[in-house]
C-alpha cells in the first residue's frame, strides 16, 4: 500500500502573527515557518502504517514556494520515503491544491491519501473534501483513529456528542484530527538519512492547473482588542455586572 501525504508550510503555531499595515495579509517577513501541525499528524500516521508493515511507501508532497522543501525534509526526517515539491510563488487556493493533488494521485496511484483536516494559517478545511470529490473516492474526515478490516478502513471520527465509525473502501481520502496520534521527534540518524532521500520538483503546469486566484481578499484585520476585566467583591455584584453587560437577563 502506498500512502500520499500532502504537507503545507505555514507560520509556526507559536508565532504571534502580525497583520500587514496595508491590510492585505499577514506579515511573513522573518517569521518562523513550520509544517502545519495537522499535517505532522498525517505524516506520523503514515509512517506508523509503514512501521506496522501495512504501508510500503510514504510520499510527502508540498505545494508552495521553494522553501517548502524544508517542510518536505521534515516529513522525510520523520520517516517519509521521498518527496514531491510543486513549486509556485503564487498563493494556491484549496481548489487548486486539490486539482494539483488529483494530478499527483493519478501519476503516483496511492491507495491512501492522508491530509491534515485543515491548515492553521487559513483554516479552510476544504482540500481533503475537494480532492475526494474530484477523484470520486471515499472520504473519512476528522479521523481520530484508523484501523484496517481486510481491504477496508475502519475510521473513527469525533462528532458532536460521541464517536462515529465509518467503514471505507480503498482507495480513500482521510483527513487527520488532533487526537489521531502524537507526532514523534525526528531522530538524529533519520535527519541524516533524510538528506539522501529524493525530492522531485514539479510545477502546477505539469498537472495542467492554472493557479490564478479565484478569490479576492478585501481586507485582513487584527481581531478586536479584548477589554480588561474587573474583579467583583460578591456574588450579588457579579450578577448585577453581568446584567449590566447584557449577558444575563
Amino acid at each position: 500500500m502506498k500512502v500520499l501525504v500532502p504537507v503545507k508550510r505555514v507560520v509556526d503555531y507559536n508565532v504571534k502573527i502580525r497583520v500587514k499595515s496595508d491590510q492585505t495579509g499577514v506579515d511573513l517577513a522573518n517569521v518562523k515557518m513550520s509544517m502545519n501541525p495537522f499535517d505532522e499528524i498525517a505524516i506520523e500516521e503514515a509512517v506508523r502504517l509503514k512501521e506496522a508493515g501495512k504501508a510500503t511507501e510514504v510520499v510527502a508532497v508540498s505545494i508552495g514556494v521553494a522553501q517548502s522543501t524544508e517542510t518536505i525534509r521534515t516529513a522525510l526526517a520523520m520517516g517519509a520515503d521521498r518527496g514531491i515539491l510543486v513549486k509556485s510563488d503564487e498563493t494556491v487556493e484549496p481548489l487548486n491544491v486539490a486539482k494539483i493533488l488529483k494530478g499527483i494521485v493519478e501519476a503516483e496511484k496511492p491507495d491512501l491519501v492522508i491530509l491534515g483536516k485543515q491548515a492553521i494559517d487559513d483554516d479552510s478545511n476544504q482540500t481533503g473534501q475537494m480532492l475526494a470529490a474530484l477523484l470520486g473516492w471515499a472520504q473519512g474526515t476528522f479521523a481520530s483513529k484508523i484501523e484496517f478490516d481486510g481491504d477496508k478502513i475502519l475510521l473513527t471520527r469525533e462528532i458532536d456528542g460521541g464517536l462515529q465509525t465509518l467503514k471505507l473502501n480503498m482507495p480513500t481520502i482521510v483527513t487527520a484530527d488532533l487526537r489521531l496520534n502524537e507526532p514523534r521527534y525526528a531522530s538524529l540518524p533519520n535527519i541524516m538519512k533524510a538528506k539522501k532521500k529524493p525530492i522531485d520538483e514539479k510545477t502546477p503546469a505539469d498537472y495542467g492547473v492554472d493557479v490564478k486566484a479565484r478569490l479576492e481578499v478585501l481586507k485582513v484585520t487584527e481581531p478586536p482588542q479584548r477589554q480588561a476585566g474587573i474583579k467583583v467583591e460578591s456574588v450579588e455584584q457579579l450578577v448585577s455586572k453581568l446584567k449590566e453587560a447584557g449577558v444575563i437577563g
Binding site: E70, R73, T74, L188, N190
Partner: protein, 387 residues
C-alpha cells in the same frame, strides 16, 4: 563564509525546540522556582524521548556513545536547551545526559572503566576540585594542597573551596602540588573517591545559586593509590587544556539561550503593558533596551559559533573560546538586567524566571574563568608567550 544553518541543523533544532517547549517548560509551572531536579518519572520520560531523538549524551564524543555531531551543531543545541527557568545550570533537567569531566577522557583505560563509563551511564557523579582558598584565577601559583608519595600511595593534605556538587559526588578530580617550587610543572591530577578516609566536606558554601551547591573541602592524610593519578605526575596542569577550552563554548551557548528567552519576554511584555496611555513598546527608551539586547545576543552568538567553527576545522580556538565566554556571560547578564527593568516589579518576583537567571548569570562572569582571566588568555595570544 556562511552563517546559514544546514537543513540537518535546522531540523535538529526544530526537534529540540519543540522538546523544550512541549516537554520541559510546562513542567516548570508546578516546580519550585529554584528547582534543578525532576521527579524520577518525569526525568525517565524526558530521557527516553531524548534517547529516541538520538541526542542523549550531548557533548560526549561519538566514540564514547555520544551523538555524531560537530561543535557548531552542539552549540546550536546548547543554545536551545537552556531556554527555560532552570536552563542555566540544569538545562532540560539533565535529560540530555552528562559528558563527564573533560579530564577523564585523557585517563588510562582502568580509570575510564572505574570513573568515566559509570559517569556516562549516570551511575556516578564527579566534582572538579581546582580552586583553593588561596585563589582560583591563577591556580598554578595558588594551589597549596600537597600530595606526598608514601609507598604505592599518595598522601594528600589541604583544602578546596567553591567545589560544586562535591557533597553529592562519588568521586572527584583533585589538583595537588607534588613538587614545590616548580609552579605549573609541579601539579598532579588525582581521582579521589569521596568515601576515602580523610576526605571531608566541611560545609556547603551558599551562593547566589540555590541548587547544585558549592562546597568547601578538606583533605586530612587522605591516601590515594598511584593508580588514581590522572596523566603523569607533575603534568596535571596541561591535561585536557583543549577540552577545557572547548567547554567554554557550550558554557557560552547556555547564556545566549537564556538571553534569547529573556528578549522574547521583553518584546511580548512591552507590547502588552501600557503606561501613560501607550504600550511600553512605543517608547524609545524601551525600544533601545530591546535593541541593545539584540546587539548583545547576536554578538555573543556570532562569537560563539565562530569559536565552534574554528574548533571543528581543527584551527586554534583558545582566543575565540575566551572571547565567546566573555561576550556571552557579560552580554546575557546585561540582557537579563534590562529584561527585569522592562518587567518592573514583576521582573524581580519568583513568578518569572528572570530573577533566577539574574542571580545565576552573575556567577557566570566568575565561574569557568572570570572575565578578567578570559581577557588575560586573549592578551597572551595577542602578545605572544613572552608575556
Amino acid at each position: 563564509m556562511d552563517f546559514a544553518m544546514t537543513d540537518e541543523q535546522r531540523l535538529i533544532i526544530e526537534q529540540v525546540r519543540r522538546f523544550v517547549r512541549e516537554e520541559v517548560a510546562p513542567l516548570e509551572d508546578k516546580l519550585d522556582p529554584d528547582e534543578s531536579r525532576l521527579g524520577p518519572d518525569d526525568y525517565a520520560r524526558l530521557v527516553s524521548k531524548v534517547k529516541d531523538m538520538g541526542l542523549h549524551g550531548l557533548g560526549v564524543p561519538p566514540e564514547y556513545g555520544g551523538p555524531d555531531i560537530d561543535t557548531v551543531t552542539m552549540t546550536l543545541i546548547a543554545i536551545e536547551i537552556s531556554q527555560h527557568r532552570a536552563g542555566l545550570y540544569s538545562p532540560c533537567y539533565g535529560s540530555f545526559g552528562g559528558a563527564g569531566l573533560a579530564h577523564l577522557y585523557e585517563a588510562s583505560e582502568d580509570l575510564k572503566k572505574r570513573y568515566l563509563y559509570p559517569t556516562l551511564n549516570g551511575e556516578k557523579h564527579g566534582f572538579f576540585g581546582l580552586t583553593e582558598p588561596s585563589g582560583g584565577s591563577d591556580p598554578a601559583r595558588a594551589i597549596q594542597t600537597r600530595a606526598v608519595k608514601d609507598g604505592d600511595d599518595w598522601v594528600i593534605n589541604g583544602a578546596k573551596i567553591f567545589i560544586s556538587g562535591a557533597d553529592k559526588a562519588e568521586y572527584g578530580i583533585v589538583f595537588a602540588r607534588t613538587d614545590v617550587g616548580k609552579g605549573r610543572n609541579g601539579i598532579t591530577c588525582f581521582i579521589v573517591d569521596t568515601d576515602t578516609p580523610g576526605f571531608h566536606v566541611r560545609r556547603v558554601v551558599h551562593t547566589l545559586r540555590s541548587a547544585y551547591y558549592a562546597t568547601e573541602l578538606q583533605f586530612e592524610n587522605m591516601r590515594v593509590p598511584s593508580a588514581n593519578v590522572l596523566g603523569e605526575v607533575n603534568k596535571g596542569f596541561a591535561i585536557a587544556n583543549d577540552r577545557l577550552s572547548r567547554q567554554r563554548i557550550p558554557y557560552a551557548a547556555s547564556c545566549i539561550g537564556i538571553a534569547i528567552k529573556a528578549q522574547e519576554m521583553c518584546i511580548e511584555y512591552a507590547k502588552l503593558r501600557e503606561t501613560f496611555g501607550a504600550p511600553l513598546a512605543t517608547r524609545q527608551a524601551v525600544q533601545w533596551m530591546v535593541v541593545d539586547n539584540e546587539i548583545d545576543i547576536r554578538t555573543a552568538r556570532w562569537a560563539t559559533l565562530d569559536a565552534a567553527c574554528k574548533a571543528d576545522r581543527g584551527e586554534p580556538f583558545r582566543t575565540e573560546a575566551a572571547m565567546a565566554k566573555l561576550l556571552s556571560t557579560e552580554g546575557a547578564s546585561r540582557v537579563v538586567d534590562r529584561a527585569i527593568q522592562i518587567h518592573g516589579g514583576y521582573g524581580v518576583t519568583k513568578d518569572l524566571p528572570l530573577e533566577r537567571w539574574y542571580r545565576e548569570m552573575r556567577i557566570r562572569r566568575i565561574g569557568e574563568g572570570p572575565s578578567e582571566v578570559q581577557r588575560l588568555v586573549m592578551a597572551r595570544n595577542l602578545f605572544g608567550a613572552s608575556l
